[in-house]
Every structure is written in C-alpha cells, then in structure tokens.
C-alpha cells in the first residue's frame, strides 16, 4: 500500500498489485520504472499514468480511439520485455495500448509512433517505437469533421 502526490488527483492511494513495472523506464524518463494507471469518471476516456516515485503523470488515450484499426509491429526487445508470443499486436483484453497525449497552444496530439504497451496479466509495460510505417508521433486529436491526417 502506498501514497503518491499527484498533480491531478492530490494524494492518491494505491495497492502493490496495481503497480505496473516499466523495466526500461520511458524515453526521456529512464528512471521512472513504476506507474499506476488512473481513470476517473470526470475525465473518461483519458487514462492517466502516474509515477509512484515522482509527480510525473502522463495523460493517455487508448490507441483504438484515435486509429480504430491500430496494429503495432513490435521490436524483438519490446516483445521480450512484454512476454508476448507475437510481434504484431492489437489492443486486447490483456494488452493495453495507450497513446501519450500532449497539448500545446490549444492543439492536442497523440503519439501513435510509440504507444505505451502494457501486459495487464504480467503488470509490465514498455513504450514501444513501432516498426510498421504510417503512424505519427504527433497524430492530431481533433473532433470529427475537422482535419484528420
């Protein structure tokens, strides 16, 4: 049982079993190896990835919300960290795939080039730079009817 001070949620309590391990950390945050995922009714469908050892909190959305047919070709290293039998994966019951969102000057973008992939059964995650082409690290998040690329 632990407590974090989160920028969005104030003091957050979590159980050991809820922690997700990221053995390699994240690009730019290689020392951040333990996170919990937080969802709240007021902010659905966003999923917050809150570090348990610092105030770092990334806002994400499931990849299939941004690209309904999303499929990722994982590197051998990422496949091994996650303990997966296949390198070509889609989101599933035990495989969460989240795009990190960033907001800048009123525009929002999702990183579909490097989704955060989490094996829920093993409680392990990695930010995987996919090998397949066509996904952007800054996929625009816009309303239907806007310009989507």
């Amino acid at each position: 049982m632990g407590k974090i001070n989160s920028p969005y949620f104030g003091t957050l309590a979590y159980r050991r079993e809820e922690v997700l391990d990221f053995p390699g950390g994240l690009p730019g945050f290689e020392d951040e190896k333990h996170f919990v995922s937080v969802e709240q009714p007021a902010s659905r469908p966003l999923i917050f990835l809150q570090s348990i050892s610092s105030g770092l909190c990334l806002i994400t959305a499931p990849v299939q919300m941004l690209a309904p047919e999303y499929v990722a070709e994982l590197s051998a290293d990422d496949q091994a960290v996650l303990g997966l039998r296949e390198s070509r994966v889609r989101p599933g019951a035990e495989l969460l795939m989240l795009a990190v969102l960033s907001v800048d000057d009123k525009t929002a973008a999702a990183n579909l080039l490097a989704p955060i992939v989490i094996n829920l059964r093993r409680r392990v995650g990695v930010q995987a730079i996919v090998l397949n082409e066509g996904y952007s690290h800054r996929h625009p998040v816009v309303e239907r009817g806007g310009i989507v690329c």
Binding site: P27, G28, A108, L113, Q127
Partner: protein
C-alpha cells in the same frame, strides 16, 4: 552533411572509436552494424523524437486544457470511432 556511398562490408569511422559498417542491403532498408565505446549512446533517431514528445507531454495541464481534451475525445468516441 557528409554524403558517401558504401558497399556491403565497407565501413565509416566517426571520431577515433565509432565504426559503422554496412552489413546487408535490400530495396528499402539497409542493415548497419555499429561499434562504439560504452559511453557513446547509439539509438534510432525516433527515440530522440519520442523523448522530446514525452517531455512535452509531462507538462501538467491546467483545468481548462484538461477539460478541452476530455471534450474532444468524447466527441471522437461518440462519432463512432473504434
């Protein structure tokens, strides 16, 4: 930018200790082998881009930005995506 052609098996030296060798060539990719000292980082360029994106994404949003983000995604969801 230095531009040079190398055949399979040929190498480039960068500084005194970094070597890049062409191992294999196909129509739309090349396989490279890199030898470098432990303290020199070698990574795909995309990692640097992802690092920058993560650092931008790490900035805590204010309430207005957060509400705006939720609203956009709810509209995307309701429009029948995925």
């Amino acid at each position: 930018m230095l531009v040079t052609r190398r055949r399979i098996g040929e190498s480039l030296m960068i500084g005194g200790e970094v070597e890049i060798q062409v191992l294999e060539v196909a129509s739309n990719w090349v396989k490279l082998g890199i030898t470098a000292p432990r303290d020199v980082s070698v990574q795909r360029k995309e990692v640097r881009v992802v690092r920058q994106e993560n650092q931008a994404a790490a900035r805590a949003l204010d309430a207005t930005e957060l509400d705006g983000l939720v609203a956009i995604l709810r509209r995307e969801k309701n429009a029948g995506a995925g």
